[in-house]
């Protein structure tokens, strides 16, 4: 049983890492095709990719949309979670349902609905319209994480602050936000990750100013190329650096 377990673990890791390993390995291919045989080590594709202005613009757009839409989603989600966790409102169950609902709907459907609406309203597509879509998908995530993190300890501390004379704005700023800092951080991080990697909404809701996943998508049309490998490897590198940083920060956090 024990040997079998370790064998299974090894096979699972092999399966999980196989495509990534191939991706990274052939990004160094000294040739035109990112498949065997390996013809030698070269950094030419990285050189090409980093000098590609369309890709770099897309990268900037991705970062912009990810950070702005996540920040907006976080603020709205946090305020709504605070309100619904604290005040007994008529229909608060329904409101929670409405706020969570976009999480259970395919991104394609959200995108199609927004596209229909924007078309009917005569709104022209841009990074802004894609950003609106990203807030729609990140808002339930931020709301749910904040709402789940608001325990009794939080509520009692807020109550105590109010008792000591704090206005609602100061309760939010001095008590709720600092106490929820880990949850807020996690929600923001996840939002940025999802938004950064989101394809279908951006694909349908932008016209000229595309983001990185859409730009990579259009690179695929011209078939296999080590340049795509190079971009993918770079994205992977950035992502795992961010994940490891998060992990280390969480690990070193005093409890």
């Amino acid at each position: 049983m024990r040997v079998l377990s370790w064998l299974y673990l090894a096979l699972a890791y092999a399966f999980v890492f196989l495509p990534i390993a191939v991706l990274v390995a052939f990004s160094f291919q000294d040739g035109r095709l990112p498949v065997p045989p390996f013809k030698g080590f070269s950094l030419q594709w990285y050189d090409k990719v980093l000098g590609d202005s369309a890709l770099m613009t897309a990268l900037w757009h991705s970062a912009l949309v990810a950070f702005v839409s996540s920040a907006l989603a976080l603020v709205m989600g946090f305020l709504a979670a605070h309100a619904l966790a604290r005040v007994r409102l008529p229909g608060s169950v329904l409101m929670r349902g409405v706020l969570i609902a976009p999480m259970t709907v395919s991104y394609l459907i959200i995108a199609l609905g927004l596209l229909t609406t924007f078309n009917q309203a005569g709104v022209s597509l841009s990074l802004w319209t894609a950003g609106i879509g990203h807030v729609v998908i990140n808002l339930p995530l931020c709301f749910a994480i904040c709402y789940a993190a608001m325990g009794d300890q939080q509520k009692n501390a807020e109550r105590a602050a109010r008792d000591l004379g704090a206005s609602e704005a100061r309760v939010l700023w001095l008590i709720s936000a600092p106490m929820l800092a880990p949850a807020l951080g996690a929600a923001f991080f996840l939002s940025v990750t999802f938004s950064w990697d989101e394809f279908i909404i951006t694909f349908l809701l932008t016209r000229f100013d595309v983001t990185l996943p859409v730009e990579i998508w259009s690179m695929l049309r011209s078939g296999l190329s080590p340049a795509t490998n190079a971009v993918g490897s770079l994205v992977f590198l950035v992502s795992i650096t961010a994940v490891l940083l998060m992990e280390i920060l969480l690990f070193l956090r005093p409890r």
Binding site: R2, Y8, L9, A12, Y13, F15, V16, P19, I20, V22, L23, F26, P34, V35, P36, V75, M76, L79, A80, H82, A83, R86, L89, V98, A101, M103, T104, V105, S106, Y107, L108, I109, L112, G113, L114, L115, T116, T117, N119, V135, V136, L139, P140, F143, T193, D197, F199, L204, P213, I216, W217, L220, V231, G232, V235, F236, S239, I240, V243, E247
Partner: protein, 284 residues
């Protein structure tokens, strides 16, 4: 009662931005889409109306119905395979790996999760392609003479999906397993249950919420995904999202695309109804 009224006003004020945003950019667009699904096309012109024609077509026109069937088949296959593969992986990490390495083991197991979704599908193309790693390796070893047609098949789509969802499910099942007190198994064994009986009657039922939550998530994400079938499955057999994109892009038939989206939604809702008893969506 004035205090309570002030409280409520404040509550509404704080919840308003999120609620209005969701109403304006999710609920209304969705309703607009439902309305549009009852319209029809005359030439390149959308004619509003209350025409169920799109839905009738979705279930009678073989090319449309086929996409639905493909999607459901692929999604169910992916969900089952992913659960079967992920459960032992999560269990090994939770029970065999020493506790101080578990976080690391888990982090490694889901590391490719963090790469770009588009790139991940693309990288499977490098492995499964006609002159990809597998074919080259098998031909090099002399196992096969001609390259196998691995890419642009349903199998490729399934492999690409399984790769992604095994990672996701490992996380949800692990989270469930690690919460189980080892005393459950001890109690069962103490009462005379064998290894299999312990697993079958105690451990498995206790992990059901994690499994079902993960499986539902897999189902929802899988059936609505356009990228993986488009890159790995090609255009040989279309899935529902591919057909929706096709209706929208090539023919500009937004009413038909909307109707198919509503059908997609309905399938997800059915799946939700089917497993809502065990679902813990608040725990994701």
């Amino acid at each position: 009662m004035t205090l309570q009224r002030a409280e409520r006003r404040l509550g509404w004020g704080l919840a308003a931005p999120a609620l209005l945003w969701t109403l304006a950019f999710f609920v209304l667009p969705f309703l607009a889409m439902v309305v549009l699904s009852f319209a029809h096309m005359e030439g390149r012109q959308v004619v509003q109306g209350l025409d169920p024609g799109n839905y009738i077509r979705a279930f009678t026109d073989w090319s449309q119905l086929n996409a639905l069937i493909n999607s459901v088949e692929i999604t169910l296959t992916v969900t089952v395979i992913s659960v079967v593969l992920a459960w032992p992986l999560a269990a090994i990490i939770a029970w065999r790996v020493p506790p101080r390495f578990q976080r690391l083991a888990l982090l490694l197991a889901v590391l490719p999760f963090w790469t770009s979704y588009v790139v991940r599908s693309y990288s499977w193309l490098l492995v499964l392609g006609k002159n990809g790693v597998i074919n080259q390796a098998l031909m090099g070893l002399g196992v096969i003479a001609e390259p196998l047609a691995l890419a642009s098949t349903r199998s490729a789509t399934v492999i690409g999906f399984v790769h992604f969802f095994v990672m996701l499910l490992t996380l949800t099942i692990y989270a469930n397993l690690i919460q189980l007190s080892p005393n459950y198994a001890r109690a069962a064994q103490d009462l005379g249950a064998g290894r299999w009986a312990t697993f079958r009657h105690v451990i498995l039922p206790l992990t059901l919420p994690g499994v079902v939550t993960g499986a539902f998530l897999t189902f929802v994400l899988c059936i609505g995904d356009y990228i993986t079938p488009q890159i790995l499955g090609g255009n040989n057999e279309l899935t529902l999202p591919q057909l929706i994109m096709l209706q929208m892009g090539r023919s500009g038939n937004f009413p038909m695309a909307s109707a198919l989206s509503v059908v997609l939604m309905a399938v997800v809702t059915l799946a939700y109804a089917g497993c809502s008893r065990w679902l813990r969506l608040d725990r994701i």
